[in-house]
Subunit: 226 residues, 4 copies
Amino acid sequence: MVKPLQDPKARPAIPEIRSVRFEQARTRIIERAANLFAEKRYDQVTLDDLIRILGIGKGTLYRYFTNKEALYSQILDLGHEHLQEILRGVRDRKDIGPIEKLQEMARSMTRYIRLHQDIFRVMAIEEPKERCLKSEKIHLQRRERLSMIEAAVDQGVRQGVFRSDIDTWLFSQSLVSALWADSLFPSLPPDPEGRPVQRIQEIVNLFLTGALTPKSPIPLSRGGKA
Amino acid sequence: MVKPLQDPKARPAIPEIRSVRFEQARTRIIERAANLFAEKRYDQVTLDDLIRILGIGKGTLYRYFTNKEALYSQILDLGHEHLQEILRGVRDRKDIGPIEKLQEMARSMTRYIRLHQDIFRVMAIEEPKERCLKSEKIHLQRRERLSMIEAAVDQGVRQGVFRSDIDTWLFSQSLVSALWADSLFPSLPPDPEGRPVQRIQEIVNLFLTGALTPKSPIPLSRGGKA
Amino acid sequence: MVKPLQDPKARPAIPEIRSVRFEQARTRIIERAANLFAEKRYDQVTLDDLIRILGIGKGTLYRYFTNKEALYSQILDLGHEHLQEILRGVRDRKDIGPIEKLQEMARSMTRYIRLHQDIFRVMAIEEPKERCLKSEKIHLQRRERLSMIEAAVDQGVRQGVFRSDIDTWLFSQSLVSALWADSLFPSLPPDPEGRPVQRIQEIVNLFLTGALTPKSPIPLSRGGKA
Amino acid sequence: MVKPLQDPKARPAIPEIRSVRFEQARTRIIERAANLFAEKRYDQVTLDDLIRILGIGKGTLYRYFTNKEALYSQILDLGHEHLQEILRGVRDRKDIGPIEKLQEMARSMTRYIRLHQDIFRVMAIEEPKERCLKSEKIHLQRRERLSMIEAAVDQGVRQGVFRSDIDTWLFSQSLVSALWADSLFPSLPPDPEGRPVQRIQEIVNLFLTGALTPKSPIPLSRGGKA
DNA sequence: GATGAATGAGGGTTCATTCAT
DNA sequence: CATGAATGAACCCTCATTCAT
């Protein structure tokens, strides 16, 4: 990930440099390919489309990926790995409380998504697939990420900041879905100009404080845990 | 598209009846086809797969749909139309308030989704696609449905039941996303046995009352509308 | 092999008829394909070449053979099966002695080869391949056929018609190779006009009586078995 | 093609020496390449296979051969040239009679084949190909070699050692085919341990004296020349 | 001179679509 | 009206060939 600004002496250098170059080229391809896969169906993206926007030969693509399918699947892996890294970083911070963690997770996650919208979009396309073959893997990755959020919520519950009757998993999933939706469907009619950060803030607040006014009646049933 | 609620008098009944049978067969095909499209990619579902589970000949399929693409797209239309109908029904009810409307919308929507999981899944797959050709149509349908929810929220805001500083669109979208996620990813680790209705209730409550305990500090910023 | 002139009543007929038609079409394809594979290398024969001389669509070819490779390999199988059948028939005859058997084997084998030169040619191309994967099978088939000849020679040795010091396997192999060569390389300069049957006769005689004149000196060593 | 038996005086030695090295490397490549082409089909041998067993770079290969096809075709040429040289040497010997010549031809030919089995094998694969482009050349080369044998047989006939009613061409072709077969299919079941020279001897004897015992009846017809 | 990354023409294969039965 | 054999356009992928290093 971090390009190790290669020290020109010291190492035998060449294989290392090549490997870094290789990895960079690979990542570049994945990200550009995501552009296409985000807006067209897998079968509607031809290899010719890909190499056209990549500016490389067809054969070259096969030096980086065993086939079209593999390239596609790497998009998901790249997206997962980065999100995971981001979330794990926030989860493990000791300097902030659970509320701030959730807010920070929402912010940093959304920031990454904004930068790599297409990767995210491809993930959203693939996740609803039923469990078959590797879609199993996709579901696992999803859970892995969600458990990062859940960890923060759990902490909040233990500290008495969050109500103890909430289903932490359901909460985490709902929050992520809401953020997800906000990033995926940006051209919302009521909010044409961009106040993206405020919107994230607003979503998180919604989950923290709800939509009712103080005078409102408490909704009839409280689930079943109360 | 619109099933012509057959007028029992006037016309020579036979073609009409035939047309109803035709429509029924069509719908059956769409629903069964959704089974496949929900778990495999469009290109991974072959016509041979389809006719196998449908128990009809390849040529027959072409009597009902102009091509594979059309069949696929009808899944989305069918799903949208039914959801829309359900939501519109609740929206127009005069006998219940906004809170109950939201709860009812959530319940009836989810009930439909549970019965037709695959159609819903296909919709979830297609929605994130960027604007290209008919994906524009998909987005419009999405907005149409969301505006049903938003109408209820708006009503709540006008009646002072909901805080006036919430973004009604954002609220609606987030709520639907959360419900959506709960239905799409059913095998959640913390909830192996099925308490589906309670979970929906819980999600709605979350959106209404938030996750904070009374003693919790109010989160730092309140968006920007406050 | 034998087309069972289908009895029009009795059976449910249809699958049987279809199967026969299918088999006929298959065989036709194999034989025509052999035309090309006999004169061009495997890689020089394109599917387009094949369908052009076959007069069928590319997809149709794949209803009969799983791929190009399979089609090619079926040429060998067809050739082997027919030769085998022919040779087995002669071997099992009780009405003629070993000499006549050899002569008849040579004749009938060569007759078949003349009719299906190309299949035979393809076999000649594939047989010299070293043992790898299925070339193992080819070698086995070769041995199977040769053992048909050897059976006749063995019989001759047991009856005292052939010298007991000859290596029957070597004899069989040499005879077949000679016949093979005569059929494969027909346009020999010294024999432009066609006296094919006489030539076979002549080859067999050569193997039976040798080339020496009576007065000739017996060659130095007699192998090592004497 | 012809290794320029370098004239030691005259020219500036260096390019000449280089040329010899070049020729040696070339020959080494041809022989090793034959290893692969003998057991796999032309299209199944990739350039990557070749350079791997050759231990050279892909570009280097192209310094020695204009393309893959040329390399392949050189295998045949190399084999032919050497066989031809060997046979011509024996044919022109004045110190031995026709019987000894045949025996010597068989021996020396087989010895070469044993050392370069793969080249021989490739020749056997290519020879059956019908006349197309350069396969015409292959056939010519075959005839050239066979005519070496025929020369010895002719001599024998003229000297009264061989029967005058044999077809010398047929005889030569059959003999070579038999020897060829013995070398190509070495793992014969009845002869697991190696008595290669004796087997050659035996084949030649078979052609000289036939397989019949003295008491055996003369076969029915004698071809048509008798 | 040697190398192997990049290339893209070419070919095998699939599969949606048609249409004769 | 239903069927599924035949079709060929379209596409993925391989691999011989080139050429900058």
